[in-house]
Symmetry: D2
Subunit: 198 residues, 4 copies
């Protein structure tokens, strides 16, 4: 059994019945046993404003940073609003990246899924978010890409993916991501974790 | 004297001493007399969440939409956070675009300036924001592009641009934008305003 | 009858049976009578190399520039290769933009269509190409956006669009583009043409 | 001494005195001893056209594919033309990605440098190229990012970098890239090479 790993999952939509949240929950169910996916909530984070970055920043910021920092990896699941990522997920990225020199993101193996009720699968949001990860220094899984289109049709009344084909797709995605995490954390070099060094 | 025009200015940074706000204020001072630039504040807009889009949406959303809707044009002035636009300006874009069918943005002639204390002038934020304007149907001025680099050096103690060269650059930008507004609003076709039709 | 207008059409794929070429030809058939769409070929343009920009540049470059320069507008119809535009259309853009100070592109009202046999309609190519038009100073129609997906199913044995719904979509697109051309060329300001000034 | 590694270097500009070529050659000089950087020429590749992908494709395509395929990694060094990558480097990407199922790119650890005589360091080209690497499945080094601005001032008459600060920057970049190659090739999972498995 591989070493247990935890993944902070950031969901871009705040709706209660968010399709992206359903995708994230399905991924959590389908993940290999050693991989724990946990959604870190972002809906109550005040908009990033450097003036609030005092000795006592907003408690919601501190709590968010405290939840992401210990995770082994980070998975973004995002819809597209107006051909880019929604504000809440950009806000979470910005809050986590600060204060200067204490970003929670660097070196965490990452992946991006975009999901949309529309036809194009959130392509625009997906790649805008990827551009951010370059600066954040999140080593990003490239394949499989995941632009999930017409996701409104994916879920049954029980909130689970109805079609075996879609379930297999998501299971393969999270399995590939689990491999990516091990490659980044256990491959040689500065990102290697203690287990690999021991 | 040309017909008076009003421009809603959206500033991406919430800091009190924001360089982008200083750029916006300087542009307002340098604009042709018939053009009034007014900053519409975005710092208190709750993060967009479709569940709040009820018959009584957050009052800050309603107020924001009410200020942008009557403007003749819209000017975005934005820094870059993590190689994209900051969350507050994306949030303003998303709030203004909803509810479905009642976006405040379509057909308003627009322009984008990015400004940064760093070397690259907010190039990444600038173009991500431009991608949104396609969906929003904001006819966008292409030239002059404005990626203002090392803007921390631009302003004197009085908060105004010190160097004549920089002042001329901004004056030329806002003059070109004033021309763009007239072309879009008075050119033939569906955007043409009453003056042109009269 | 409006003033006649000519549009240079640049097709991104070089294949003989290119779907994008079929889209371009259908648009030419569907265009309003005063609008003439003509494909300018780009397949024989040598790769741009500044060293060849002598007093005698490659004749194919000169011929291409000579065909685009007199057009009233420019329409790009492009597939997506590897999540961006294909090399031939980028090459045509680069060749047309040079030598310095003599670009053929500025001020020509433009539009972009992407078309793909796949599911995402060339979204990545479409927006990369749009980013270029900012520098090129091509005033770009924003709406309707056109990401044509699964275009392999659109055409009958006669090379024409079989489904009335698709034909209507393309007719509406080219009609909107015709309006955009008039707005840009006849609206006030530096782009206004002689007819408008007369 | 680490296992020897070879890197295929793709230079985006075809000019004889290309600044990007100078950057590539300097990186080759500064690379750790086990890392061999070799420029693979792309200037004579016919524009990609699927109709030429027969049993006898253009010999230049075959030769290019034959040079990239055996390399351990791939490094892109590119200028920016019209806010995107130049056509020759996109053409090389497209030629290398075909025919379907036989791409030379997947799983090769990669890095991107953009270099420009202008102020913005080729930011637009850099990120457009990065978007392609997602589809190509090139695991990409995120940090350090490299947007080399005003590179025209970097080189002395001998074609070498004059300023120690710039030389150190490039040496650090290629050292980080050497580490990235080992992490990707020797970390666990499908990309691991024989040495790691042995």
């Amino acid at each position: 059994m591989p070493q247990p790993r935890t993944v902070a999952v950031i969901v871009g939509s705040l709706r209660r019945d968010s399709l992206n949240r359903k995708v994230a929950l399905e991924l959590a169910r389908l993940a290999p046993p050693h991989l724990t996916l946990e959604i870190v909530e972002i809906g109550d984070l005040p908009l990033y404003n450097q003036d609030l970055e005092t000795e006592s920043p907003p408690p919601a910021w501190t709590a968010f940073r405290g939840k992401v920092a210990p995770a082994d990896g980070v998975l973004f699941v995002t819809p597209e609003y107006n051909r880019s990522m929604p504000a809440p997920i950009k806000n979470a990225i910005d809050v986590g990246s600060r204060p200067y020199g204490r970003s929670v993101w660097p070196k965490k193996p990452g992946a991006v899924i975009s999901a949309s009720p529309g036809a194009y699968g959130g392509f625009g949001a997906n790649h805008h978010l990827r551009q951010c990860t370059v600066f954040l220094d999140i080593p990003l899984m490239q394949q499989p890409e995941a632009y999930l289109a017409k996701v409104g049709d994916w879920f049954g009344a029980d909130g689970q993916v109805a079609d075996e084909k879609h379930r297999t797709y998501l299971a393969d995605f999270v399995a590939a991501y689990a491999d990516w995490i091990e490659k980044i954390l256990r491959g040689p070099g500065e990102l290697a974790d203690d287990a690999a060094k021991g």
